[in-house]
């Protein structure tokens, strides 16, 4: 049932006092009940069915378009010489970018000890997995002879033909593949305790068996938790450079070329910032309806949403900085080709895409300087959707303007997307949302075990030393191993 709780505003910040992250007075039991209720109720809310129906339809369209593509060839798309990449690679970079927010929340915010991440990290990681699946689809289907895609893998063959490891397109195979595997592992491993919760609360034998298998027999042993936490920390530490590297490798697809507008050294960090920007916008787009629909407003509170808005603002500024640097260096370099491409972006045949991008990316995100915008849930949703649109257009502008008007004017040609491409893009959203809605229905949407660790009841000292007025402090000595058990 949808939440009837009013919106509790916990965004006020009084320095010296950390605001409560979980509102509504929920304790361990309350948190578990609230999150498990999404799964335990016999029927999901009607809106879930409607959304699922729409996304399943879109998924069907995606399947049909891909089949049509395989049978008829890449000519059904609007690609030409020189614009050999269009919607296909735009969609790829768009979806991979969206996935990055999930890993940032899981891994990077974990390393920064940001407790508020616990409410959203589970479904953000799920978003990552599904986004990467959508992303991996596009390089797969754009190669022309899809049934030969296995040639990308280093498999022994009688011609002694191996992949060209110097190509960024092959680095992509390894980067996106590694990213998918590591995100999947991180997501699944983190879910084990919550799957155990589902197993223990299962009402039917079937559910007990399925979730029991998935939970791998987890029994909450502290000795297990010790290794679990260590593995989690190590995965977070590995996933952090991974997330930076993946979108950098994607940016290398463009930046290692010599094309004006593509070959610029700021691409790696710029793409990463842009990915996080778009990804957090998608997190907001998903979180805001989900918390309304599934009654999670006490767990995904306004404070969580406000923090996401701030990250959107910061990464939006980074993206704006990159635009400025590219533009400045295009002039500073004195290269007529670079200068031309930036003038073409702003005033040429794709100017409409360029200005949409600027307005949505740099323009819309600036609203988050204002507290009002950061605490109004529907305004947040509007800005987030605008950012998603803007980030799609950013990749479109980068790819298509530089390809369609490169060094030799006699080679120019313009790109017009076909209906098949547009429907494929729409269909990819179908794949994403179908998987996401299934996740909401059948898997623990919120990391219950992690949320419990940030509840005030989880702290030991309050009850262990009720008579002390001194706030929690460590013993004052230099021993660095004081809070560490002796190494084995």
């Amino acid at each position: 049932m949808a939440s009837v709780a009013p919106e509790i505003d916990n965004t006020a910040e009084i320095p010296g006092r950390r605001a409560e992250l979980i509102t509504g007075g929920l304790g361990f039991t309350g948190v578990t009940d609230t999150v498990a209720a999404v799964w335990e109720r016999p029927q999901p809310p009607r809106a879930w069915y409607i959304a699922f129906g729409i996304s399943l339809t879109l998924l069907g369209i995606l399947g049909a378009m891909i089949l049509y593509l395989i049978v008829n060839g890449v000519g059904v798309w609007g690609l030409n010489n020189p614009t050999a990449w269009g919607f296909d690679i735009t969609n790829f970079v768009f979806w991979v970018g969206i996935g990055h927010a999930g890993t940032l929340i899981s891994a990077i915010l974990f390393l920064f000890r940001q407790k508020w991440r616990t409410s959203i990290n589970r479904f953000a990681e799920a978003m990552t997995i599904f986004a990467v699946m959508c992303a991996g689809l596009f390089p797969g289907i754009h190669v022309g002879r899809i049934w030969l895609a296995y040639w990308l893998a280093p498999l022994p063959n009688q011609m002694a033909m191996w992949p060209n490891f110097r190509s960024p397109l092959l680095w992509d195979v390894f980067a996106v593949g590694t990213y998918f595997m590591v995100s999947l592992l991180f997501w699944y491993v983190g879910m084990i305790p919550d799957l155990a919760t589902f197993r223990d609360r299962a009402t039917s034998r079937t559910k007990q068996i399925i979730y029991g298998l998935l939970a791998l027999g987890w029994n909450g042993s502290s000795r297990h938790w010790h290794r679990f936490e260590r593995a989690y920390l190590l995965l977070a530490a590995l996933a952090t450079p991974l997330v930076l590297s993946v979108h950098s490798v994607v940016s290398f697809d463009f930046a290692v070329s010599q094309l004006p507008g593509w070959h610029t050294t700021i691409f790696p960090p710029y793409f990463v910032a842009g990915a996080i920007f778009g990804g957090f916008a998608m997190v907001l787009t998903l979180a805001i309806p989900a918390r309304e629909l599934f009654g999670l407003k006490n767990i995904i509170t306004l404070r969580h949403l406000e923090n996401c808005c701030k990250i959107v603002l910061v990464t939006g500024l980074m993206v704006g900085y990159a635009y400025l640097m590219e533009f400045f260096m295009a002039w500073y370099s004195g290269s007529p080709y670079e200068g031309f491409i930036f003038r073409a972006r702003a005033g040429g045949p794709y100017a409409w895409a360029y200005w949409t991008m600027i307005l949505c990316n740099v323009g819309a995100s600036q609203l988050f300087w204002f507290k009002r915008a950061r605490t109004n849930v529907w305004l947040m949703l509007a800005v987030a959707m605008a950012v998603n649109v803007g980030m799609w257009f950013e990749r479109f502008v980068i790819i298509v303007t530089s390809l369609s008007q490169d060094f030799l004017p006699s080679s120019w040609d313009f790109y017009r997307p076909t209906l098949v491409e547009i429907l494929t893009l729409a269909g990819s959203f179908g794949l994403f949302f179908t998987l996401f809605l299934l996740f909401c229905r059948f898997l623990p949407m919120v990391a219950m075990a992690e949320v419990k660790t940030v509840l005030p009841q989880a702290a030991l000292t309050a009850e262990r030393h009720p008579h002390e007025h001194v706030p929690p402090t460590r013993a004052f000595d230099y021993n660095p191993d004081e809070h560490e058990p002796p190494a084995s």
Partner: protein
């Protein structure tokens, strides 16, 4: 279990007159070293002298800018762990107004239009080179001077306003100081990003005015962050030797600072590698021209490899485990090493003179070392003088308690 209470005022008390004397000695040493290098000027050539000055100056200003970034960042993210180390960082950032003064000697080659320091300053070079003429609207002396004035004005304001706000809070304990600092830091970080980028472009990238790289600002910033964290670790260890901050700064703080140093080392390597890989891959002469003298002979190949191994591989392996990060006496060794590597990075950027001659010039001069001591002495003196006068802890910062009691993951 009885827990001793912490005497915050004793932990953070200023260093006093002994430090003032130390600052005086450092100032004297600095001035002597600068004077000594000036006397060498005619011998090595004034352009070499000013390039050595630029090298060492960029080094110290990058440390101060790293500190300014750190302070503003901690305010914006409402960090609790860093409060007990923030005052020292504020004092490092507070050297920026002095560094503005120390920038003035660099205007000599600019105003006198010496083409072997900044080629674009020389009208003859610009006239005969259409590529320089095309960017003369930006790379011209008056605009350069105005821009530098703006950079230092912005930085000095941010640093001093931050320090003053923090010091005032020592007396009043008013939370509004924290809130004001947060708002100022948010806008400050935007200004910081722009000014540091264009400073790096103007002062370092324009040494080779044909060359350009959009990631240059980020590259400079990443190096300065590494240098700052290393400097902070060294200063904190020194202060603890002097009996300050012995309990307020614990192995938890060092662990975090070590983590940040590790993280920024990896970040620096990522940025440096991105720049290198893209230029290597496309192999365009107008871009590779910057790297050629840096790989052109045995010396420079050695420097490049030393930078790769020493600035990345060694710190990566050394700081990966928590063992050294939690032990200040080990961490400080890594910090000193990183400070040296950051200087090597600045050397790598400033020293080669490809504009003039195809071959390499003499790779090292006495002025490089003398001016390191010279500018360094004045830099350290400026920090120590503040440490002598003001509290080393933000005594009544509302988040100080959190900083004293947190534990690492």
């Amino acid at each position: 279990m009885h827990r001793p209470t912490l005497d915050i005022d004793a932990e953070g008390r200023p260093l006093g007159t002994a430090a003032t004397r130390l600052a005086g000695a450092a100032t004297l040493l600095g001035l002597l070293a600068i004077g000594g290098s000036v006397t060498l000027g005619p011998q090595v050539g004034w352009s070499i002298f000013f390039r050595s000055y630029l090298l060492n100056y960029s080094y110290f200003v990058s440390l101060a800018l790293g500190a300014l970034f750190f302070v503003m960042l901690q305010h914006v993210v409402r960090a609790g762990w860093s409060v007990s180390v923030r005052r020292v960082a504020e004092m490092i950032a507070g050297t920026l107004p002095w560094l503005a003064v120390l920038f003035l000697p660099l205007l000599v080659p600019v105003l006198r239009r010496w083409s072997d320091v900044y080629p674009w300053t020389d009208p003859g070079t610009v006239q005969s080179d259409p590529r320089l003429a095309a960017k003369a609207a930006y790379l011209n002396v008056p605009f350069f001077v105005i821009r530098c004035a703006v950079y230092f004005a912005v930085w000095s304001w941010l640093a001093l306003a931050g320090l003053r706000e923090s010091l005032r809070q020592d007396d009043t304990g008013d939370v509004r100081h924290t809130q004001r600092a947060e708002r100022r830091s948010a806008a400050g970080l935007v200004l910081f990003g722009l000014t540091v980028t264009f400073f790096a472009v103007d002062v370092l990238m324009s040494l080779h005015p044909h060359w350009y790289s959009t990631i240059w600002g980020v590259y400079f910033f990443s190096g300065s962050a590494v240098g700052f964290y290393a400097l902070l670790i060294v200063l904190l260890v020194a202060l603890r030797r002097a009996g300050r901050l012995t309990h307020a700064v614990s192995s938890e703080h060092f662990h975090d600072l070590g983590k940040f140093a590790f993280g920024f080392v990896v970040f620096w390597a990522y940025i440096a590698f991105s720049q290198y890989l893209l230029i290597w891959y496309a192999n365009l002469p107008e871009e590779t021209v910057w790297y050629r003298p840096r790989q052109g002979d045995r010396w420079w190949i050695g420097v490049s490899l030393l930078l790769l191994v020493g600035h990345f591989v060694v710190p990566l392996l050394a700081l990966m485990s928590r063992y050294p990060k939690r032990r200040p006496h080990l961490l400080v060794v890594a910090a000193v090493w990183l400070l040296a590597m950051h200087w090597l990075d600045m050397y790598y950027i400033v020293k080669p003179r490809p504009w003039l001659e195809a071959g390499a010039s003499a790779p090292l001069h006495a002025t490089d070392a003398l001016l390191l001591v010279g500018i360094g002495g004045l830099f350290v003196a400026a920090i120590v003088r503040r440490m002598a006068r003001w509290s080393l802890l933000p005594r009544r910062d509302p988040r100080l308690v959190e900083s004293l009691s947190y534990e690492n993951v």
